[in-house]
């Protein structure tokens, strides 16, 4: 029997029942009430460990690995279904919430305007958007997902998450996404408060080092030195592997060393790899990432939304040899961030430089880092550590190629839109790198969020939600607000199903 002094306070779901009037869990008549002095998450029923028929001791009914949006939705759904739930968040409390803390909105289907989303976004439109980005992802699962997205806002609101009224004129118009009031960290705070209030046992600083799925009940090893936790059912909601530099380098070569990771440093993919090693069927691609172009001075982790470079399309972009390599005017809409992330990741050395002059600079939001400035292109090149003659030649060639209509002629590659000469000093530059949001490798799940093996059978008692299974829906594509919806929708399903499995 595993003994975890002061670490896991087991909860047996059978001793608690959901009170629909109070909307909370109450001890059943005859069960021990709360132990005095312990908060709701530490309520310990009279028996210390529940025993299954096999004699295997369980530390909880449902064990949730992860601490972001998907994990919290799973934990709350499982707890509301009557299970004793333990959630293991790798991050410390102050940095909890995975990539969800950097998120902003959620893409939801709706047939009529709601207080949170304008207009309508019918299921067929949503599915069409999914097919556009995800290609041949599982169509049946996508339909289920889209239908389930319709009431996820209400479910989250019922669990404490606050959404921004779409009548708020500060919001950009959106008929597809509902915005979290205060953003993703506010959502994370609300869900943790709800989970804690419901009696989910939450443990921070709890990195999962290994999964053990072969001998009946799922178990995980946590922390250093390892402690083993056994559960009746397991929900894996631990995200991608973008924070594992070694794995990223194996997929991307040395370019990976130049990537900034935009989210949590705890998405090291250990549970994902363990699931694949246990025979789970991979979906998506190991060598693809969601990425955007960020200021090269972004911190190695957790830079989030603010390091994105807004104005790349307005000037020119050169590689470390001072040469242009792409049509800066090709993408000027919201997907320009992603387009440039991919382009820069594949540049020599995975770095590039955005160059503009004092006139162009007025047309975009500046980086949060100061521009590198000089009074001549040659000086700017010297400051940037690239060859002055090369950059001078590039800029001169570009300026000479500009035509009246905002495009270029006779320069390769062309700039098809927003082409303006770079002539007004001081000249400015931002270093550009690829900022990775998440990797695109996941495990196959079914409509109950069960993890499937390559042979199509389910891994017994193992469920997945969030980025670790998002490629089932999104493939390797990106849809604004889509990943948060995948996490919440499948989190809710995984939690409910895991609880049903655990309490069967």
């Amino acid at each position: 029997m595993v003994f975890l002094p002061g670490w896991v306070e087991p909860l047996a779901g059978s001793l608690w029942e959901f009170d629909p009037v109070l909307g909370s869990f109450c001890a059943k008549a005859g069960a021990l009430p709360c132990v005095a002095g312990l908060g709701p998450s530490q309520r310990r029923p009279s028996g210390s460990k529940a025993m299954a028929m096999t004699g295997v001791p369980y530390d909880c009914d449902v064990l949730v690995v992860g601490g972001g949006n998907a994990a919290l939705c799973a934990a709350i759904a499982a707890r509301r279904a009557g299970a004793a739930v333990l959630l293991l968040e790798a991050a410390p409390k102050a940095l909890r919430g995975g990539n969800a803390r950097h998120s902003r909105n959620m893409r939801v289907m709706h047939d009529a305007p709601t207080p949170w989303v304008r207009g309508r976004y019918p299921a067929d439109d949503y599915l069409a958007d999914l097919r556009r980005v995800a290609g041949n992802a599982d169509d049946g699962l996508a339909r289920l997902f889209v239908d389930a997205s319709a009431d996820i806002v209400d479910w989250l609101a019922g669990n404490g998450v606050r959404f921004q009224s779409c009548a708020d004129e500060v919001l950009p118009y959106s008929r597809k996404t509902a915005f979290f009031l205060g953003g993703g960290k506010a959502l994370v705070n609300a869900l943790y408060a709800t989970a804690d209030g419901l009696g989910v046992a939450i443990r921070y600083d709890s990195t999962v080092r290994g999964l053990h799925l072969r001998d009946g009940a799922p178990a995980v090893t946590v922390g250093e030195p390892g402690v083993t936790v056994t559960a009746r059912a397991l929900v894996v909601a631990s995200g991608g592997f973008q924070a594992d530099s070694g794995w990223l380098r194996r997929e991307w070569g040395e370019a990976a060393d130049r990537f900034a990771i935009r989210g949590t440093p705890h998405a090291t993919g250990i549970p994902l790899k363990a699931l694949l090693d246990e025979g789970a069927e991979p979906v998506g691609a190991a060598d693809r990432c969601h990425m955007v172009a960020v200021d090269g001075r972004a911190p190695p982790f957790d830079g989030g939304i603010v390091t994105r470079l807004d104005g790349i399309a307005h000037g020119i972009v050169v590689d470390r040899d001072g040469r242009r390599f792409a049509d800066e005017g090709a993408v000027v809409g919201p997907s320009r961030y992603t387009a440039w992330g991919e382009l820069v990741a594949r540049c020599p050395g995975a770095v590039a430089i955005s160059i503009f002059d004092a006139a162009i600079e007025t047309r975009f939001r500046p980086s949060i880092f100061p521009a590198i400035r000089a009074d001549s292109i040659g000086e700017l090149a010297r400051d940037l550590g690239i060859s002055p003659p090369a950059l001078e030649a590039t800029v001169a060639g570009f300026n000479a190629a500009i035509t009246g209509g905002g495009g270029t002629a006779g320069v390769d590659p062309p700039k098809t839109r927003l082409a303006e000469p770079i002539t007004v000093p001081p000249f400015g530059a931002y270093p550009v790198r690829a900022g990775v949001t998440s990797t695109c490798l996941g495990v196959r799940v079914d409509e109950r969020a069960r993890v499937l093996r390559r042979d199509g059978a389910g891994l017994e008692g193992v469920y997945a939600t969030g980025v670790v299974m998002a490629p089932n829906i999104l493939g390797c594509g990106y849809l604004a607000g889509g990943a948060m919806t995948v996490g919440a929708v499948f989190g809710r399903i995984a939690g409910r199903e895991a609880a049903a499995y655990a309490l069967r």
Binding site: V170, G182, N189, D302, T362, P366
Partner: protein, 381 residues
């Protein structure tokens, strides 16, 4: 810009850095007026710092929702940064200008010294001129208070100090208004003023977009807003009581003290209780607040104003309760001294937050009325 010394420059630089990160994020734009006002500015200039820092109600919702708050590498602490700039703006626009940069810091010692001096000013003449049996005697009937301190002295000294303070506040606000940069040309003043006063009266910006603010920690609550309402409307009722009493005395010839169920006493009692509850509640919230988003150096000045208002109200209520006993004389002197001290410190204390914030709300409403936020991008350079 207010860069009188390195510290001011550092404070402004830190606030600018924070606001530039906020402008790139904008996740908090549903919380309060600061973020919509920020959205229309690509660059944060010194005037914008003055404006935005006073528009901030220090509700701290943005801190608890901030993915860049410490221990993040960006170490973003917008409420703290803005409160430091705000404090700086009080000092930059103080009147008369000779005091600029010379006022003591944001601690409580200045307020305490002025209050004690005012109390001495009120008490000493009475103590020196009145025999003990008058000072500690029982007085009742019309004019009882004036047997201790003549009405002319009360009205003359308090009136003169109040006049000075109102004048100083007026000049300070005018200087602050200019300090926010030019107002949007052609913006309708009166509709904007109506919006600003409604926001000030309702403290909409302490609402956290609906569920309240983070008074103490990441949980939302309306407590701070309610305590502030109790204090604000309590002060209002006390001024109303004074006004009614003035009419009674000079218009109708009825001299104070007034009976318990009279209008001045009722207004003053309810107002006094509101002030006591409000100040005590706000102090308690301050004491229990998460220290993360709080600028420790400002707590002294904040608490000094709360203490002043608490003591003014408590001594007034005490006077009401004990006015027929021998304690009336000393209590009256204490109460009048505290009120005089409060009047005298108004233009030089945390009290300036009230007129400055209303002015900032007015500026925000004028910008809002002038044009919708997304079409007001200021050019870079």
């Amino acid at each position: 810009m207010p860069c009188a010394d390195d510290e001011a420059g550092r404070i402004a630089g830190e606030a600018r850095r924070a606001l530039e990160i906020c402008n790139a994020c904008q996740f908090c734009d549903g919380y309060c007026a600061v973020f919509s006002a920020l959205k229309s500015r690509s660059l944060v200039l010194a005037a914008d710092l003055t404006f935005l820092s006073n528009l901030c109600h220090n509700c701290r919702s943005c801190y608890h929702a901030c993915q860049y708050a410490p221990p993040h590498a960006f170490d973003l602490n917008l409420p703290k940064s803005l409160s430091l700039v705000r404090q700086q703006s009080y000092r930059d626009h103080v009147w008369p200008p000779v005091l600029r940069g010379r006022l003591p810091g944001a601690g409580w010692s200045f307020v305490a010294a002025v209050t004690l001096a005012a109390m001495a000013l009120v008490a000493l003449p009475a103590v020196l001129s009145l025999p003990a049996e008058v000072l500690f005697g029982r007085h009742d009937g019309p004019g009882a208070f004036y047997r201790l301190v003549p009405w002319g002295a009360i009205a003359g000294v308090a009136g003169a100090v109040m006049l000075w303070s109102l004048l100083a506040i007026g000049f300070s606000v005018a200087s602050f208004w200019r300090g926010m940069g030019p107002a949007p040309a052609g913006a309708a003043l009166w509709p904007a003023l109506r919006d600003a006063l409604r926001d000030a009266a309702s403290l909409r910006n302490l609402g956290g977009g609906g569920a309240g603010c983070n008074d103490r920690d990441e949980r939302f609550s309306q407590a701070r807003r309610r305590f502030h309402h109790a204090l604000f409307y309590g002060v209002g009722l006390c001024f109303a009581a004074t006004g009614v009493a003035t009419v009674y005395d000079h218009g109708l010839g009825w001299q104070a003290p007034y009976p318990l169920l009279s209008l001045p006493v009722l207004l003053g009692s309810v107002g006094g209780v509101g002030m006591v509850v409000g100040t005590a509640g706000l102090a308690l919230l301050k004491r229990r607040a998460d220290p993360g988003p709080v600028a420790r150096s400002l707590t002294g000045g904040d608490c000094a104003l709360l203490a002043q208002l608490f003591l003014v109200a408590a001594s007034g209520l005490g006077l009401l309760a004990m006015r027929e006993t021998a304690a009336m004389g000393p209590l009256l002197l204490v109460h009048l001294g505290l009120v005089l001290g409060w009047f005298a410190t108004l233009p030089y204390s945390k009290f300036l937050h009230a007129p400055f914030r209303v002015a900032a709300l007015l500026r925000a409403a004028m910008e809002q009325k002038h044009s919708p936020p997304l079409t007001r991008k200021r050019s870079l350079r």
